[in-house]
Symmetry: C2
DNA sequence: ATGAAAGCGCTAACAT
DNA sequence: ATGTTAGCGCTTTCAT
């Protein structure tokens, strides 16, 4: 039951532990014959150097932390996948934590991890933290020598690497796509108006309208609380009944589905006289009827980039330079919008 | 930048490191006054005992591993959430790995983790592993003193704690629900016929028919390869065209959605003359039109149970008894089936 | 080519 | 009440 150690191996061959250590590390100091027999024995007996002893000595754990606001969100799951892939490739383990959008949990997690458990951390800021605008726990972490890479939901004023989406441009493009396919009464439905990324998408929406010379209608900007997602349809129904909306851009999938249902129930045909584009690249988009056109965020690539950048920094101590990487969104055309092709015909 | 250690504190107060250690652990051996000043100093300077030193000494890491076949699967994400919640509550960290359904990856992960990184591991077996029927890596792990808890996809012959769903009964109930609401030509669509849980659901389906005195029709049993999920509709269309199927039970959400679409396209009205029940509790079920009735698996509860059981075992070394916990499924009635109520009226 | 010894940060048995 | 020491498993410098 007790795990094999170099001490055991040393005893077995009547050599010193340092000989064993060197032999296992293939040192030139050790004769080929002893290296061979020791390595073979180690292999046969499934020797594995103790992780904690190694980490204690080297002050490196080869593990990174990741703090995610909500694991049931497909986007975050994708990011996680990207991080895992890169971390695995480069020999790192991942300790993962869910903040549940809570400031306290996020803070406690960071403190728990900054005791030598991890070398660095990847984080997307909890909603509560963003609202409270209190980022000192991140500053402490960085000051303690644990590098941070933030993704998607980042804190402007924290000096660290960041991986973000071009939310603003994504919204501009979405508006222009809709206008080019014949829609002008475009509503903007946001479930994240309290988050920075929500504000950016909102601004992009406004900019898109401006570019297309469409007057802004304040009553076309619809903010919904995120947690009454079961209520989206109920919220939207009266609004759609009263207004001559013929297209929507939403900040998430659920509200896009709700909007589509309500529009269809009202008698619209999607995409012929009602179009919808949703931010996100989740599964819902691929399963709705009709399938949904999205502003896709490339979550996996964001995760991979964050991990690459973090590990680069961990393995290159003199790298003190911080960058912000912008992962471009793409409009993935499905069936909830008309395509340019059709229009050009 | 360098982290504060008890040695530093000892130097600062001109006492020995053991005094500091005892003071920080509130030992009765140390005078109240020195305890106070040392504890205050530690707190003010944000002292944190080094994780690796602690683990090396105690041979406990207070971290558990979790190996999941696919993080983009909502069910597994739910399980993860349950594990995280319990682990966090009981002071454990989680190292999470994705096997991507690969035997090699699963095996390597297990080996990587069994070097003292973790105290125990929670795992749902990769598809490839189940097909190869090769579980020696789990046996090695257990033999090395690292307890395993398996969930959902478990290996019968491995002697460890298990947390499973009553797949068989779930399918029986689904059949009976359909029959009671007036459907007799019930097809069974499986995307996981190669997995044990798939076989159990299949058998439950057969048993349900038997109980209801409905003849089995082999051509109503439809097995689809999981990875051509984009093709589900294409696969199903000709089948539905030829046969007088009026209800389906599916092993997953995606194929249920496809079945519903194909049925509707064929002219059926769901649920009036065509019903569907899907295994799973994902987001798709809540967003489809009509919303889908499911055999819900309670992923979060499964994760929580697995974590509780594993940690119980870790903290109670003489607990050598292994159990299998069955988490019951529930039929969650939504709009793709008629309800008993309607029938009884 | 091999070994002795120190040290990573901590705990705990054993002095004093 | 405080200190000394050994040891957790390993690497590495410095003998030999």
């Amino acid at each position: 039951m007790k795990r094999l150690t170099i001490k055991d191996i040393a005893n077995h061959f009547n050599v010193s532990i340092s000989t064993v250590s060197k032999a296992l590390n293939d040192s030139y100091e050790i004769s080929v014959s002893t290296k061979e027999k020791i390595q073979r024995f180690a292999k046969e007996n499934n020797y594995k150097p103790n992780f904690n002893a190694l980490s204690l000595k080297s002050r490196k754990t080869k593990t990174i932390g990741i703090i995610i606001p909500n694991m049931l969100n497909y986007f975050f799951a994708q990011v996680f996948k990207g991080v895992e892939k890169v971390a695995n490739k480069r020999g790192y383990k991942i300790i993962s934590c869910i903040s549940n959008e809570s400031y306290e949990k996020e803070k406690e997690t960071l403190e728990m991890l900054s005791n030598g458990s991890i070398d660095g951390v990847i984080v997307s800021i909890a909603e509560e933290t963003e609202l409270q605008n209190n980022f000192s726990h991140f500053e402490n972490c960085i000051a303690a020598g644990i590098p941070i890479v933030m993704f998607d939901r980042v804190a402007e004023r924290i000096n660290c690497d960041k991986v973000i989406t071009n939310d603003f441009d994504g919204a501009v493009n979405a508006v222009q796509h809709l206008v080019k396919t014949g829609f002008k009464n475009i509503a903007f439905i946001s479930t994240i108006s309290n988050l920075q990324i929500g504000r950016l998408r909102h601004q992009g929406y406004l900019k898109g309208l401006e570019k297309e010379n469409i007057a802004i209608r304040e009553d076309f900007i619809i903010n919904i609380k995120e947690d009454d997602y079961k209520e989206y349809e109920n919220v939207l129904t009266p609004i759609f009944a009263q207004k001559d909306i013929d297209a929507v851009i939403t900040t998430d999938e659920s509200s896009a589905i709700a909007a589509m249902k309500v529009a269809i129930r009202k008698g619209h045909t999607v995409p012929d006289n009602f179009s919808v584009i949703a931010f996100s690249n989740g599964i819902l988009a691929r399963h709705s009827s009709p399938k949904m056109t999205t502003v896709s965020q490339h979550g996996e690539q964001m995760g991979a980039t964050a991990a690459e950048k973090l590990i680069d920094k961990l393995e290159n101590n003199n790298d003190t330079h911080n960058e912000t990487f912008i992962i471009k969104t793409d409009i993935v055309e499905r069936k909830s919008t008309k395509s340019y092709m059709v229009v050009h015909n």
